[in-house]
């Protein structure tokens, strides 16, 4: 690639549910990834199977793309409503692709496509894909192969008809002399995967030794379990759809108690039902990973949109006092790494560990360097190597670290007894209050170890900046992108991203905040939950906040508009 030929642009495909826009979006996104471009996908859909207005947007770039963009350069409208809703987002050089049969006011920036002539009705979406691919300058063969791979499992004649619709429309558009700047061609594209947050979490957990997942379907977390279910047979996992979320967490605890590293996936409402189980995991010191893909609440809220408003809920869920870790990945790579870390921390410190994501990250496809499996070390709770314990075996033996040697039931002659009641070292119910005090201290002591393994917040940009943007979880890309824009304008801006929000270790970040002239928290909620937590833990008061709670992901434009730099 020509080094100075850099380009970043935004494509939005809009239409009704049932028009196949996700299919087109996924094939186009993967075609772009295979051609060497970076992508960041934002899926905005309504909670319905047919109708409504849905969009599949992808920001594409020759370099890294880490955040969505609001301005649209290529608007693919599968219906007239899409044009009406998004025309005002069109950039100066932007182009609208629309069916010529639709009654759209003819604009200079509109390409009217004779879809009826290029394909049968059923394949309009694929024809739109062909037109798009030609305009972007993608290789016809690459896109065609991507489509074939995508449809690979359906009937051959459907594959063939899709391919034909794709070719016809690609060639039609390629012959048209459309004023739209193609993407710079990338020679010898690097190998990249196309992956979203939920896929990366599922993979990370399996790479760390996950063997059991129970779940109750809830958007936007469901696809974590669906991915695991897809691999269950070949990887030897069990994925069980439980009768409710209460069953899901308890089933995971049962499996984990018996020695299968376990995980549950849910969203806020389902997690609310799991709260008692979280406390049980802590009391019985049973490892479990809980993934909460956030969506706007209270209650059912906006089921298919995004938000970052459950930090405080997850931090405090479960009655009583016990240590926990909360990971908040900001990228697909972090989803993979932190899912592994979560499984390890749960196994080592024997309790609940949380991964907090949201709909945006869960559904956001990105181009990712294929994961290297050489470094993985799956947990083996059944291994007794190096395990020291006295007999008779006491599951909750008090130790300096608070971590008791863990045996599994049935694998040795030693008996493993766990109780949700306060218990003695051997796991049996007790009302001896001095034992109670000792056990509280033992459980809390594990927090010291968890704290020592905390991931420090990541600082990007200037030291001692004029402006420090503080973010957590999926807002990472948006703040870093906005900061880069401001730095390009000569401003001294830095970002501080928390990929783990609990435990908070002030020594790891407080000086960065104190050294900045101005600190602004950027969060996808209405009250600034991380800012409040930081103040509680450090006394540092972040007064300025940029908060988004309309159900859409944080974008660089949103931040820049709020800052008015």
């Amino acid at each position: 690639m020509d080094a100075d030929k850099k380009r970043i642009m935004n494509i939005l495909i809009g239409g009704e549910a049932g028009q196949g826009l996700v299919t087109v979006g996924q094939i186009l996104a993967k075609g772009l990834v295979r051609s060497g471009y970076a992508i960041c996908v934002t899926q905005d859909y309504q909670s319905r199977i047919r109708g409504g207005h849905n969009t599949f947007a992808m920001r594409v770039g020759t370099d890294e793309v880490q955040a969505p963009q609001e301005a649209i350069d290529l608007l693919v409208a599968l219906n007239a409503e899409t044009v009406g809703l998004h025309r005002n987002q069109l950039s100066d050089q932007g182009l609208i692709i629309v069916d010529e049969a639709l009654e759209i006011i003819d604009d200079n920036n509109t390409l009217r496509v004779p879809f009826k002539r290029l394909s049968s009705d059923q394949y309009t979406n694929i024809a739109a894909l062909g037109v798009c691919s030609a305009l972007l300058g993608l290789d016809e063969g690459v896109v065609s192969q991507t489509a074939v791979d995508f449809f690979g499992k359906t009937h051959l004649e459907i594959v063939e008809e899709n391919r034909r619709a794709l070719e016809e429309s690609y060639r039609w558009a390629a012959k048209k002399n459309v004023a739209f700047e193609k993407l710079p061609f990338i020679d010898d594209p690097p190998q990249r995967m196309m992956m979203n947050g939920n896929e990366a979490i599922a993979l990370g957990a399996v790479a760390a030794g996950l063997k059991f997942c129970s779940f109750y379907p809830m958007t936007p977390a469901t696809s974590i379990a669906l991915n695991l279910a897809r691999w269950a047979k070949e990887m030897g996992l069990i994925v069980e759809q439980a009768e409710d979320e209460i069953a899901a967490i308890n089933m995971a605890l049962g499996a984990s108690f018996a020695g299968a590293p376990s995980m549950v996936g849910t969203s806020g409402g389902g997690f609310a039902l799991m709260a008692e189980g979280i406390s049980l995991a802590a009391m019985t010191e049973t490892p479990v990973v809980i993934v909460i893909a956030q969506r706007p609440a209270p209650a059912t809220g906006l089921p298919t949109r995004t938000e970052q408003a459950d930090l405080e809920f997850v931090l405090h869920a479960g009655h009583g006092e016990f240590p926990r870790a909360i990971f908040t990945p900001g990228t697909i790579e972090q989803c993979f790494e932190l899912a592994q870390k979560a499984v390890h921390i749960a196994d080592l410190y024997q309790g609940p560990v949380f991964i907090l994501t949201d709909q945006f990250l869960a559904d956001s496809y990105r181009a990712v360097i294929p994961f290297d499996l050489n470094g993985i070390s799956p947990v083996q709770p059944w291994s007794t190597k190096g395990l020291k314990f006295s007999t008779p075996y006491r599951r909750f033996a008090v130790t300096d670290s608070g971590i008791s040697p863990r045996l599994l039931p049935g694998l040795t002659e030693h008996l493993v007894v766990a109780d949700s009641d306060e218990h003695t070292e051997d796991g049996h119910i007790t009302e001896d209050l001095s034992v109670r005090t000792q056990m509280v201290q033992k459980r809390l002591k594990k927090g010291t170890g968890i704290r020592a393994e905390v991931i420090p917040p990541e600082l990007q940009g200037e030291e001692k900046p004029d402006l420090l943007l503080v973010a957590w979880g999926s807002s990472k890309g948006a703040v870093e992108d906005a900061a880069a824009t401001m730095r390009a304008r000569g401003m001294r801006v830095a970002t501080l991203h928390f990929a783990q929000v609990w435990p908070l270790v002030p020594e790891l970040f407080i000086d960065k905040m104190q050294e900045a002239k101005e600190v602004v928290a950027v969060e996808g909620n209405a009250t600034g939950q991380l800012a409040r937590l930081i103040r509680r833990e450090t006394g540092f008061h972040i007064k300025d906040m940029i908060l988004r709670y309309d159900g859409l992901p944080m974008t660089p434009e949103f931040i820049l508009r709020a800052l008015k730099p």
């Binding site: 984990s256 108690f257 049935g410």
Partner: protein, 280 residues
Amino acid sequence: MVTLEDYGQYETAWCPGCGNFSIVEAVKKALVASDLEPHQVLFVSGIGQAAKAPHYLNANVFNGLHGRSLPVATGAKLANPDLTVIVESGDGCNYGEGGNHFLAGIRRNIDVTLLVHNNQIYGLTKGQASPTTAEDFVTKAQPEGVASFPFNPIVVAVAMQAGFVARAFSGMVDHLSELIQQGIAHAGFALIDILQPCVSFNKVNTFAWYKKRCYTLPTEYDPRDWGNAMKTATEWGAKIPLGIIYRNARPSFGERIGRGRLVGRETDRGVLGKIIKGFQ
């Protein structure tokens, strides 16, 4: 050889005369008769007086939350099918708080044995109505008498064609023990509803009350006849049938999914690598 001594003898927190004592005795006898060593057995219980039972014998124990023993037992059995998993809890725990799990457990036909101490009252919380308490029964929580119709676990389990459905009475220890042994041997979900008196809070359904009504099903009774089992299941009142009311040979959940033991299974990096490649 496994002996009763292997299962130990413990002091309990129960009232003198409680039906729980004889149930624990029957459980121990059944385990010995099944030639199971304590470490091969996992008891899962919830909350209630009955849920304390596993603390009074030697075995692996997970004493979890109120109503949630079946999901825990399901997870444990799937992780390690070699464990003999027994759920032991009361009528409130299994039929009230855990009602949904009771239905799901039957549907899955998970290979666990469910022992329900059914005294038709809440003992731990001092005498409120349970799902099986009779209509018009007066308690401090229901001073004008229970207005709801009682839950009949046997009818529900037989209607859902649960793998093994039996009823026992704590006053007939050997019969109960024999049923528990058969329940353990059954490769699928086995419900044993155990009628028992609560000497402190149920002054109606006393030892004598049960003794007068309970009878064992005759040897010629065929528990594989579902139609007849439904009829037998509805029998409640002047006469209460004990024994295996219904059974079938439906494959268990574990058999159906055929995944084997999860515990001890290494992560296959080769397959994982292939899955990752699929994302390119």
